[in-house]
Symmetry: C2
Subunit: 208 residues, 2 copies
């Protein structure tokens, strides 16, 4: 049954205009936060964007960043990149956009306070950031699965993070917090085909 | 039913000595890779460690890093940190340790090739790294859920990444790839209590 749920999930990017009731969004997020996190610190918060003007402002920021990037790319490659970048604003078609954010917990860094050598200091700082990002991503997968089980569609988009700072400003993300993804959510208006995956055998190496 | 599965999952750190059949590990990983990733790039690989000597070597590397960090911390705080750090080697009790790794896909960075201003270049590079880390973390949540559904226990540990470079060397992780977490896997020898979570209402802000 878990197999059926995982295998039937799709990344949905076209939605009916119907709003998603607030209690449904809350139920999905209550399932999302069953995810584990380092020392159960729950390094996540979720900004739920229902206001159309805010979603449009986010999309405009992504378009502006994309235009700057395209302008920096030699003409021969620009067309392919423009098509790729088109995906980055697909979230604007959703009635709700969920933005999971994470905050590193610099416990060891703070205690060590400059007394570690560079290699250890860097490993500790990266572990502390990645811990929060990984934990919040685990919650995000739960959110995608819970949405799917509920008959909703969603997708986890990281492309919009080319406009990370602008989106953080638009959403009023507090200092110290960082955006994980942009997640359009709504009732599906498409049935996406399955996408291929490399089998486990192809992406695994076993040390026996 | 998804609700029951998500809510009953626990982070398991004590395992029976029974080995996990290779075909079970493969089945779990085949479910893990149903996760979405940016442009379906599947930026993940999995190192499955069954060899006891390798698991011990990983644990020794984490203990050595922990000792260096403890030595850098003032005596008054050292005891608390030592207790916290004890968790970082819990993976050594498992018959199998899965190490998901990820690789950033610097498509836009490569094409822009130094022609972006610093802010955009940094946003693009961070988006490309985070995309791969988030995608692989999504696969990791699927792995934890699939293991749970199968009657296996697992946990996602990021603490061992204080010894990130040493673990990468021990496992022969190729250049360009980075470790996401260390995941002990086996038949549970404990029934962990549920851990508390802040409710969705407490960790959500809605922009209406």
């Amino acid at each position: 049954m878990i197999e059926e749920l995982l295998r039937s999930r799709r990344s949905v990017r076209r939605f009916k205009p119907d709003p998603v009731p607030a209690e449904v969004v809350e139920r999905l997020l209550d399932l999302a936060v069953t995810a584990p996190s380092a020392s159960n610190k729950q390094p996540w918060r979720f900004v739920v964007v229902e206001r159309r003007a805010t979603i449009d402002e986010m999309a405009a920021a992504v378009r502006a960043a994309r235009a700057r990037i395209e302008a920096a790319i030699p003409e021969g490659s620009r067309e392919a990149v423009a098509a790729y970048g088109e995906y980055f604003t697909r979230f604007e078609r959703a009635p709700v956009v969920v933005v999971p954010i994470h905050r590193p917990l610099p416990l060891l860094s703070t205690l060590a306070d400059g007394r570690l050598d560079d290699a250890d200091a860097s490993a500790v700082a990266q572990m502390e950031r990645d811990s929060a990002l990984v934990g919040t991503s685990l919650a995000l997968m739960n959110l995608l699965l819970a949405a799917h089980a509920e008959g909703l569609g969603a997708s986890a988009m990281t492309g919009p993070l080319i406009a990370r700072a602008e989106i953080a400003r638009i959403l009023g993300v507090p200092p110290g917090w960082d955006i994980v993804a942009v997640v359009p959510l709504g009732y599906p208006d498409e049935v996406p085909a399955a996408t291929e995956r490399k089998s486990a055998a192809k992406v695994t190496r076993t040390i026996r």
